[in-house]
């Protein structure tokens, strides 16, 4: 999704035709939880999208990090977040329960792999090309006959 997300945002989100609801999965357990929690903590500093994008940008590095929490703090600092506030938020683990609940709801609705996309309820499983997204979105935007 990340590869085509900027194009989709430019073409459909900025024009008011589409909204994207972000539902993080936790398929890699504690590491996924930490990363999702980091995005929530960034949201407290109005930087959810920036943090989400930054995490994806260095995904491989984070995956190999010995100390993921410190690495995520580095990422937060790299996008000019207040590291102290961010670290305090991470230490609080205050979003863990909500993130677990969201993940449980997703798996309960049949989301067993990632990524999965739903477009007005129409489910697409796995990574999709820009052309596929556009075809489905354009069909949804087309006036009913």
């Amino acid at each position: 999704m990340l590869e085509v997300e900027p194009q989709l945002i430019t073409q459909y989100v900025t024009t008011g035709q589409m909204q994207i609801v972000v539902r993080p999965l936790l398929q890699y357990g504690p590491d996924s939880l930490l990363a999702a929690h980091a995005a929530e903590c960034a949201h407290e500093q109005n930087a959810f999208i920036a943090m989400r994008s930054a995490i994806y940008d260095v995904q491989g590095t984070l995956y190999m990090a010995d100390d993921l929490q410190a690495a995520l703090a580095d990422v937060a600092q790299s996008i000019a977040l207040d590291r102290t506030a961010f670290s305090a938020c991470m230490a609080s683990e205050r979003y863990n329960e909500a993130l677990y609940q969201g993940y449980t709801r997703a798996t309960s609705s049949g989301i067993v792999a990632r990524p999965v996309f739903e477009l007005n309820g129409q489910r697409l499983i796995g990574s999709q090309s820009l052309e596929t997204f556009k075809r489905v979105i354009d069909a949804l935007l087309a006036p009913a006959p």
Partner: protein, 99 residues
Amino acid sequence: MHRSIAITLLVSIALLIAGCASATSDAPTSATTAANSTSASTPTTAAISIRTSTPTVPLPTTVAPAAPESVPMSVDADGYHVIGDPAAPVVMTDYSDYF
């Protein structure tokens, strides 16, 4: 007898001088040597300038921001982040993992 020895000696000396002259003409002149040494150092300089102007290793591409600053952000009733106008007719739900 002495005369024939002298002639032989003179011929030998003449041949020796001729040989040296031939060898000298095959040897590079000082100008050629200077040119060669210049051409030997020039590629090094050129190679450095090429490396600095055209990297042989592709630079990493910059990933575009996921969303421009102008895109509205909100949180829905279930606590999920929404990128874009929450009244937009198409709703894409993105189930993904950060890893």
